[in-house]
Symmetry: C2
């Protein structure tokens, strides 16, 4: 597929993506190394996790790590690189675009999108946690996150919001403000469910999400929804 006009990842990350192996091309031990690194990086952070601890946890000699990954940082990139594909590849974005263009009520579109993205986030949580955590300290990761994930998502959202404002479906507020409200609702939901996991038992999760979307739609829609 052609992706030459797209802003590329940082060189280091791009390089890593090119050398990515599919799971069945990998050795058993390489897989164990990656699993151990994911667990440790997520829990203690990249800099606080040593290669010796990764090796011990993977049940592998320390040298084996460097047979598969040139440096510790390369190992990090190999872990998080796939996340940028999973969340932003053209194929996936097509899914999102399809939901947006389905000509459903805005409330259902947003609910569907939230569920879609939240499920994806949950499936890949340990790796995404690493991405979010390490982005705070590594400018290249932060850049990739903002440029490849946030920016695209925001662009899609703003286009749709603008359209719905023009059709008087949304209130005549700044596009930026409405878009921010949409993102804030999801961000806040994720924050609360991670900060107070016991309050977000599986049964109540979707009810909570629907409450959040209810408030959001009540806040941005021009006409109040008919149903509660």
């Amino acid at each position: 597929m052609a992706h030459e006009h797209k802003p590329l990842f940082d060189e280091a990350i791009q390089e890593m993506l090119n050398s990515l192996k599919t799971e069945d091309e990998m050795t058993e031990k390489q897989r164990r190394i990656m699993e151990a690194a994911i667990a440790l990086f997520a829990e203690k952070g990249f800099h606080a996790s040593s290669t010796s601890e990764i090796a011990r946890r993977a049940g592998v000699a320390e040298g084996t790590i460097f047979k598969h990954f040139k440096t510790k940082k390369d190992l990090l990139y190999a872990l998080i690189g796939p996340m940028f594909i999973k969340f932003a590849s053209p194929l996936i974005l097509k899914d999102v675009k399809q939901i947006i263009n389905e000509d459903l009520p805005a409330e259902e579109v947003i609910l569907k999108l939230y569920r879609n993205r939240l499920a994806l986030l949950e499936e890949n949580w340990p790796r995404m946690r690493i991405v979010l955590q390490e982005a705070l300290f590594h400018p290249d990761i932060m850049n990739a996150l903002l440029e490849n994930l946030v920016k695209d998502a925001r662009g899609l959202a703003e286009a749709s919001v603008k359209n719905r404002i023009e059709q008087s479906e949304f209130r005549p507020l700044p596009v930026k403000a409405i878009t921010r409200a949409i993102f804030s609702t999801m961000l806040g939901y994720v924050f609360f469910s991670k900060a107070f996991p016991d309050e977000y038992a599986n049964e109540d999760k979707d009810k909570d999400l629907r409450d959040a979307v209810d408030i959001l739609m009540y806040g941005i829609a021009n006409k109040r929804p008919d149903s509660l």
Copy 2:
């Protein structure tokens, strides 16, 4: 060592707070050490910042650091401890309670609270950034953050929200959902202003905040506000 209970941050923090010196009791060099550590911890993280780099940046011998702080972790606690006072001391919480009880329209109360907390956050940003970042990796800091800051704030908010629901000022939704919306709005505002700082030039900042509160109030109030 690992057999005794995890030291509660309350204890560690209390100990640290007791030994805290006011700025004019501190040596010039101690102040420089703390400034250097704040800059480095905020930018690179605690584990990625070495004491030798802190010393170099502060223009001080490495041994001097340990004359003032027993360990590197004690230095961290000395930096972030005051944040828990600034944001949660009874004195400060009285300020917040006063705003809540001022019997103003909910919209103005929320706006006032947002401005109050955001100003406090901005004034202390480098240190608060360290608190938020390191909480991800240090369970004791996370615990102090949730128990001493988030929990109290949430309690206050929920009491007020419950009251306003009973008075039909807010919609009859779960208290938790409305409270979450209030926090999400501020959280999202902070996230956007940090992620896209160039879009949040000082002049537009308050307009952006008012837009956010407008949407929030529109979403949770039983009657739409009279004015835009």
